[in-house]
Symmetry: C2
Subunit: 198 residues, 2 copies
């Protein structure tokens, strides 16, 4: 009686492996709280030994950082307007895309926000970075100051906090739509407009 043919352990290129491992992390993150996701599990799903994972990512933190960054990059590119969108429409376009993203991914996105904001400082850092990038993106679309520029700091803080407002409201809206989608979008743009009108 021969062994039940262990899965053919293919030999991959380094880049391939990294991609595969990060991909598995992206699949697992939404369903598994960060700290319950074990290296064992990831390695098992990838059909490799734990040791190999440590070969590519020196520590668990590094692995999570990579996964979080990958998730953040997905969101960022999704929110970046293509050249076709006229400058005036960009804020509305981005907002619409953001709502669409949350609608589509619901738990996934919430898990990202939660996982990123919570516990581990190294991962929180990636999240913070992403948030700043999104604020830059948004402020660029609004035509306010250059990214990382010397514009009014209060104004920047307001945009950032408006983002927190939006994040929270959209999440609530997805769970319990208390208004139409159009009204939600209108409300959000209106609030932002008023904030910047000061």
């Amino acid at each position: 009686m021969t062994a039940p043919a262990p899965p053919p352990r293919s030999r991959r290129s380094a880049a391939d492996r990294r991609e595969q491992l990060v991909g598995i992390g992206l699949q697992l993150l939404p369903t598994t709280p960060v700290q319950e996701l074990t290296i064992d599990e990831v390695a098992r799903r990838a059909g490799i030994s734990r040791s190999l994972l440590f070969h590519y990512f020196p520590s668990k933190r590094d692995y999570y950082r990579a996964v979080t960054r990958a998730a953040a990059d997905l969101l960022r590119t999704h929110l970046t307007p293509p050249d076709g969108v006229p400058a005036a429409d960009r804020p509305a376009w981005m907002l619409d895309r953001y709502v669409g993203w949350v609608e589509t991914y619901r738990e996934t996105h919430l898990a990202f926000v939660r996982g990123a904001a919570g516990g581990d400082p190294w991962v929180a850092e990636v999240y913070e970075e992403t948030r700043e990038a999104l604020v830059d993106l948004g402020m660029g679309a609004l035509g306010i100051g250059a990214p990382g520029g010397l514009e009014d700091p209060l104004r920047r803080q307001l945009v950032r906090s408006w983002f927190a407002f939006t994040e929270d409201l959209v999440h609530q809206w997805v769970r319990e739509p208390a208004t139409s989608r159009e009204d939600l979008l209108a409300l959000l743009t209106d609030v932002l407009g008023r904030l910047l009108d000061r």
Copy 2:
């Protein structure tokens, strides 16, 4: 040569111990990311064995839940207006208290928000609960609907999201005060007022 007199392990009542252990957790939480806080460390500081801690809290999660809830309760009582405050002043009073709280505890509060919102669902639950209670508190002060009542759901969502806005803005303001304290308070009340005027 006698052993260096191990600290006299006093025998405490169950309530005392619980309180002591939660107290240690409250001290440690701000400086230590949730998942790096080990039971060993807590037990060591309390001068007891790990086993005893597991006697009072069936698991690490339960312990963290208790600590988080204690932190949340502190905030809640701090934000609850005493009888002396007239109804009309309560919203402003609470807002002022909230800013004061963040000013005083800075990292501590941030760590609470982070730790609570992050990772572990059981702890996030406590945070969610607290947030709802704070919204109730705020809406009560504003004279909008009874707590847990059947008021306009959109309105409630707006108050909640405004809270997220406030949380974020105050945190930014504490790190980098881009305006005076009075202006910050005025801005926040103004934003809330406009949101509710719809």
